[in-house]
Symmetry: D2
Amino acid sequence: MALKIALIGAGRIGKVHASAVMTAIPNATIVAVADYHLSSAQALADAYGIALATDRHLDAIHADGVDAVIIASSTDTHAPFIIDAAKANKHIFCEKPIAAQLDKIDAALAAVAEAGVQLQIGFNRRFDPTFARIKQAINEGAIGTPHLLHIISRDPAPPPVEYVKVSGGLFFDMTIHDFDMARFLFGEVEEIYASGGVLVNPAIGEAGDIDTAMVTLKFANGALGVIDNSRQAVYGYDQRVEAFGNGGSAGNVNLYPDAVTISNATRVERGSLPLNFFLERYMDSYRNELTAFVDAVQNGTPVPVNGNDGRVPVVMAMAAKKSLDENRPVRLSEIN
Amino acid sequence: MALKIALIGAGRIGKVHASAVMTAIPNATIVAVADYHLSSAQALADAYGIALATDRHLDAIHADGVDAVIIASSTDTHAPFIIDAAKANKHIFCEKPIAAQLDKIDAALAAVAEAGVQLQIGFNRRFDPTFARIKQAINEGAIGTPHLLHIISRDPAPPPVEYVKVSGGLFFDMTIHDFDMARFLFGEVEEIYASGGVLVNPAIGEAGDIDTAMVTLKFANGALGVIDNSRQAVYGYDQRVEAFGNGGSAGNVNLYPDAVTISNATRVERGSLPLNFFLERYMDSYRNELTAFVDAVQNGTPVPVNGNDGRVPVVMAMAAKKSLDENRPVRLSEIN
Amino acid sequence: MALKIALIGAGRIGKVHASAVMTAIPNATIVAVADYHLSSAQALADAYGIALATDRHLDAIHADGVDAVIIASSTDTHAPFIIDAAKANKHIFCEKPIAAQLDKIDAALAAVAEAGVQLQIGFNRRFDPTFARIKQAINEGAIGTPHLLHIISRDPAPPPVEYVKVSGGLFFDMTIHDFDMARFLFGEVEEIYASGGVLVNPAIGEAGDIDTAMVTLKFANGALGVIDNSRQAVYGYDQRVEAFGNGGSAGNVNLYPDAVTISNATRVERGSLPLNFFLERYMDSYRNELTAFVDAVQNGTPVPVNGNDGRVPVVMAMAAKKSLDENRPVRLSEIN
Amino acid sequence: MALKIALIGAGRIGKVHASAVMTAIPNATIVAVADYHLSSAQALADAYGIALATDRHLDAIHADGVDAVIIASSTDTHAPFIIDAAKANKHIFCEKPIAAQLDKIDAALAAVAEAGVQLQIGFNRRFDPTFARIKQAINEGAIGTPHLLHIISRDPAPPPVEYVKVSGGLFFDMTIHDFDMARFLFGEVEEIYASGGVLVNPAIGEAGDIDTAMVTLKFANGALGVIDNSRQAVYGYDQRVEAFGNGGSAGNVNLYPDAVTISNATRVERGSLPLNFFLERYMDSYRNELTAFVDAVQNGTPVPVNGNDGRVPVVMAMAAKKSLDENRPVRLSEIN
């Protein structure tokens, strides 16, 4: 029988999840949708024939027969809504980050533990076919023992400065995905050294943030890593990884909208720039992560990205921030 | 207002079209589905909340408010169903080929002309982002005046011999897509020389067909082309084009499920083989061709692949067959 | 002991051979150089410290201790000089083609046979690391049984019309390399169908030649091939092969002067165009073919490209010309 | 008139330089060769017809008509031989590093300054066509203002532990090339943070060195960089750079011995592994750096890699070592 899901949040990412569940995941269906703006909830409900639209998240959580909740509302609601859903004994899929403060995260995780429900965090990039293939290569021993990891993660264009002011900054809104990717591929990190600068837009610096960073990671297994971030890659969304070990390496190039090359008397060029928009670049990953969540819940197996996987990247972002502020390597144990 | 569509045929390709219309084309909806097997029609209707399921194609065509018909039933029904739909004054999207005989094609086209409806033929590859990009490059003058065209079109594995016996053979069931691609990119062909062999499976030869071909094309504009076909490319679905002119060239590589490269002490290899299944390789194109059809019908503009575009590749297949049989170049004017 | 060589012809290709022998082949040395222009011979002799410079080819052939002769003079002298060298009992390396007429070729081959010396023909592309790797892949069974062969061979710019008038035309001066490549990779050809046009330069047509061709090959083993020629590829020297069989394929991309990609807000492009000049593109092959010749002579093993390998491509060019003239497939047995 | 050169050192790299000068640089010639082992000097002199072979470097420096000296002897002799050559008023090309100690470097540079001769240091990678193309792209503004630099520099296999013991360690014998590359591409570095480990071979750790490193660079212009080193890349010599700025990026892939791809039912792979040996990978660069040196000396223009360019990478290696030892970022001003 199809898993019955309540969706909280009918904004951009909520729509992505709704489309995934309703058109691509046969063993799940959305039965209720809540949004602070009722009209948004109603529009999404109409589009997919969802029975209940509401502006009260608890009504959605407690709608008839609901097995699981997808939390896709604004970041500050993640932790309280996790707690509400856990108390209602629902399995939970929650967008990252759980919260920006460890105590809020820990409270949410405690509620989940007490309820004995499953919690999956929306680190979607793990489910991207390209990065999943690199992970598989590592697991299969294709690179041997991991030695070095490169993560290049550059956005096509900087967000509005207003966003930067509330997001927690580059390490919390952008690098956090890369911290997760680092753990996903090479395991736990023990120490971080972050360098950064304001090279893209001075207004970002005035807002107290950086827009360019190079973050060194020391892994528990002795491997070394680096994350290279920029708020602006003019040629498109630059998302690459290279994992290197004593047996070889696995890495990827960017994805393009076509597979064309054009040659003329002046140049040989690609038919297009790399995919520019994160929803295009990572569309498959959103469907895949929900498929994995639904399957885990239905089979009673552990979800692939759990609460701790949501917590540690926040710790890493804190360590990176401290490292940048103090210009010294910072151990994660200093944060926890 | 959304275009109301009757879908005839609820098999593999009918399902693809239903999914495209119901999940990705907001300005169209399917209101009736017909299939020779009523249970197939009913299942598809249930999946998408389609009001009418029937085993009688005329019931679907004449269902309330139907504006257009998608014909995705077996090949021998294409021409009569086109005539039925035209008589009912519905716009028509029909899978290729219209028919294997020119008189049947001409009768269907005459009915369409008399009714004044639009008819689009399902040469989906024109709407593949990669081949569309090559077409755009040619249109923009990126290669200058066309000189040479290569079309590589190899299936991952041969069809059952039973299929070969009824399909009309390689030129009619496989190369026909490439004949359309040749016209799409370089314009009309005047003469064809076909060579072929039975290199993949002797049973195909015993069934009177070939499984490997090299077909030379002489275009009206003086350009030359070649189509290279095989029923079996063990590494995957091999679909490539290279257009060359006095100003340059535009070509493509195959598409892969990931963008990964793995290196070890023995080799440097791709993370995966090329996409193997035509529905994966061309999924976007099915959605795009229907989007174009719906838009053309709603805007009253010409459809991008019309009845003549459905007829000429059949003529080309006939010329290729004659050329192969007689081992000499054959002009299309010999066929018409 | 180093093989002692007399070099006949101190023009462009003669200089290439001199450089290869004198700087890269330790077990050979040039002891005499002849050129119709004594000053050219003398200049080359001075550059490498060669003892004898002469304007009489026989003096070079008969210089003290000469073991072998490299013939790099104008095409019309190849056959007579082969005969002179054979009569002097010298092993011979001769640039292609031996001659444009079969009777002259046969006379030269008869002289070689009678003398019992070795004759290697300068089909240098067999020794290019890229094409040699494709040959190796075929030999190792990497593609299984050969089915289809594509040879793309396009010059960066057309030669002077004066050259076209005396060269014998495109099939004899350009495609002849591709005929050799076809035999090298897939074995003997039985039938040829050639189509061609004058698309690059009308003056080439007025001189009685074509500048663009698409040549279909039927191999004795049942495989099919196509050679695609143009006198003008504005982006550089376009030299590619794809060999396809029931076990896979082996093919190459063009070579570039650097391995750089540059991305900006408008495009992603290669750092340079492909190598443009045949001496750059094939430099390694000239050294490798002479190394192979010297080794074969010193070891008494058969040379890798013998007299018959020099004869057959001329037959193929004749068949292609006849096919073009008569617009029908021509069997090689019609020529021989 | 050709520049007359004395070559000191007839070992592996001395032979490379001799070959470059004698076969590829027409406006220079070697007139004397010295080596501690006279037989080595004599063998090289014989191979190229060099008049003088000696085991006394001063005899070579003072040989008749010598304009310039190439120092390719062991590292500990570089500084004293530079001083000897400068005192003799000869222009100097010297292999890197000048010395492992700053006082020795400074003494050598002072001698050069006093004599008013030119000194070029053998950072050959600047002259590699691929890295030179990236530099050109930066100079032309193709990437805009530099923001981030990645240098991947991995040897195919670790050197003997005995070498590590005397080389000064990874930062001095290997990363030093990358420090030069960083300055070449992005300008001066102000601060370095180095992390490292012994992941390849424990014996290297026992010898007091590391075999794996990730080195963060802060440039004076605000850009950030990272150098990724490993003593062992099993797939070959891994030499890549990516320069990223506000206008785009320029980077390279590795170089291969052929341009072939092979596909079968299991995989799609390159025809070969990347070039494995530094002399193969960088052969062109050795010729190009000497060509530039000879041209600069003959034209009286500044050499492209001067004494200061030889000194600063040693300072950077010292800073990296200090950073690794103290696990903190180290400013170059702490060293100087």
